[in-house]
């Protein structure tokens, strides 16, 4: 087991800069998600760590050992591919045995280890099957067993759950997390699914256009995004645009939005405020609500989307339409066209530099 350090890694393909000076420290035993839209460089970064491709500049270390010029077969990593990449000409057991077998382990050891790996992924009796006789979820488990049976130093997962349907995906998320905890392996997980990143990882790195946008625990990125991109890519956010005044911003119509203190932006500079839809409280009428929240806006419900456990209201305000998510408590629901007051606290408001 080992941590992974990526330092100032850049990689270009022709004129396209796929990775631009990316540095991330992956802690030993952690579960790390690399999140970003397609073309953000997350898969390219994973392939540099795996050793399928070498960076133009920068350093990569696994367990403190520099590996940026070491080919993949010598890096002792385990990888799960998007489409599983199981060997079609081999049985499930032979697939899992492959890594041990090319290493020349004795047959008895291989048999024991393969059975242990099969049990770990709860496929104990399916060793004799061929990959094409398995369901998507089972193939996924075989791919995982094959990747970890060699006791690699890091486990790399390239959108491993992308090909599964939603219910199975949630099952596999829990399963993957359980297995990762059980063997305590450093895991780097590439995904474009923000929910997956939030629920599974200890830390998230958000990539965009080959650059690391923000990096930290999921709660930190969600509660304190440092850019509009981070705020809207990970979760949903209402964005206000204005100029810095005090700890918040002044909108073009003079309304001020107060944000939590601690901003380093200079007064008068262009800046945005981000507020999560579920942090906004909504009340009927035009009176100032007694919630004590410093930020208030009046508006009118333009649309309501009922989603069972919650409802999303689109509220038309003077400047923009805001999204508000309200938990379903059984209380009276607001009708479309109804005048409402919105309020939220400065602590729920994040001031970010204009992009």
């Amino acid at each position: 087991m080992a941590g992974v350090q990526v330092a100032n890694v850049s990689r270009s393909f022709g004129a396209h800069r796929a990775l631009d000076n990316v540095s991330i420290d992956f802690a030993d035993g952690g579960f790390y998600a690399l999140l970003g839209p397609s073309g953000s460089g997350k898969t390219t970064l994973l392939r540099q760590i795996a050793g399928f491709d070498f960076p133009d500049a920068g350093r990569i270390a696994i367990g403190g050992e520099g590996v940026e010029r070491v080919p993949v077969e010598k890096r002792r990593i385990g990888m799960v591919f998007q489409n599983y990449a199981l060997f079609p000409n081999m049985s499930v057991a032979d697939n899992i045995a492959f890594g041990l077998s090319v290493r020349g382990e004795p047959k008895a050891t291989i048999a024991t280890e393969v059975q242990r790996a099969l049990d770990l992924v709860q496929l104990g009796k399916l060793g004799a099957r061929r990959p094409h006789q398995l369901s998507g979820g089972q193939r996924q488990r075989v791919a995982l067993a094959r990747a970890i049976v060699t006791k690699p130093r890091v486990l790399l997962l390239d959108e491993p759950l992308g090909a599964l349907d939603k219910a199975l995906r949630v099952d596999m998320q829990i399963e993957l997390k359980r297995i990762q905890r059980e063997i305590g392996i450093t895991t780097i997980f590439v995904t474009h699914d923000q929910e997956e990143a939030l629920t599974m990882s200890d830390r998230i790195g958000i990539l965009r256009d080959g650059r690391l946008v923000q990096e930290g625990p999921p709660e930190e990125i969600y509660d304190r995004p440092q850019s509009e991109f981070a705020a809207t890519f990970l979760g949903d956010a209402n964005i206000f645009r204005g100029h810095v005044t005090g700890n918040g911003i002044r909108l073009p119509d003079g309304t001020t939005i107060a944000a939590a203190s601690g901003s380093s932006l200079t007064a008068g500079a262009k800046a945005n405020c981000a507020v999560r839809p579920e942090r906004i409280q909504i009340s009927t009428g035009t009176a100032r609500p007694d919630s004590g929240n410093a930020n208030t806006l009046k508006g009118q419900v333009s649309k309501r989307i009922f989603a069972g456990n919650n409802s999303t209201y689109f509220v038309e305000c003077d400047w923009q339409t805001l999204k508000v998510i309200v938990q379903n408590t059984g209380a009276e629901r607001l009708a479309e066209g109804e005048p409402v007051m919105l309020s939220w606290s400065p602590e729920s408001t994040v001031l970010i530099a204009a992009s």
Binding site: V72, E73, G78, Q82, N83, F87, F98, H132
Partner: protein
Amino acid sequence: MAMTRILEWLGRFYILMLLAFLYLPIIIMALMSFNTSPFYQLPFEWTTDWYASLWQNDQLIAATWNSIEIAVITTIISTVLGSMASLALYRYEFRGKKFLQALLFPPIAIPWLITGTAMLIFFFGIGIGRGLLAILLGHVALALPYVIVVVSARLQTFAPELEEAARSLGANQWQVTQRVTLPWIMPGVIAGGLFAFAVSFDQFVVSYFLSTPGQTTLPVEIYAAIRKGFTPEINAVSTIIIVVSMALMLLTARFFKFGGEK
């Protein structure tokens, strides 16, 4: 109802005619190899004399062995070299790769008569001259493009992640090739090998140019024999070859499902 019946019978008739077109000449030839009259006279009288006298025809037997030997060696050399070339073209990007791939096709299209003439001149120029070695070299050159085309086509269906997965598990290039890539492309390699064998074993034109009277292959020997005067021994040797090669083909088709199974 009646209409579909008629169409059905027409379809069957069509297939019957097609099979007759393909196999009737061969069947007649095979039958005549068991007929007593050397001039195809009927009524049919059963004999195995021609097979017996074939046994005495040293020249024809020697040519048959030459043909088999050359075809087998050609198959081995061109299948190994061709498969290796296909893998290299699949795996690596290098300067002039497209040009090199384009150069593989003309030899298939160039008339063998011209290829044969060119080879004759060339082999004389470099001192190999005519004979079995020249024929073997010529056949390998003719068969190689077929193998490369067939194996490359099979490689197009190979998922490159499989090689990556094998490497990530610690396999070196040789282990990757031997355990993952080769099993997948094997039907292509076998098909390429069959092509190579057929190109060599059927080869008349190039062999004719490159053979000498003592050192020749079966097709050239048959041609020479027919020119001297036809004997049903030719029918006999042809029948043996057809039976053996059809059995080989059927066996191969039995063990390797071409094109199908992913």
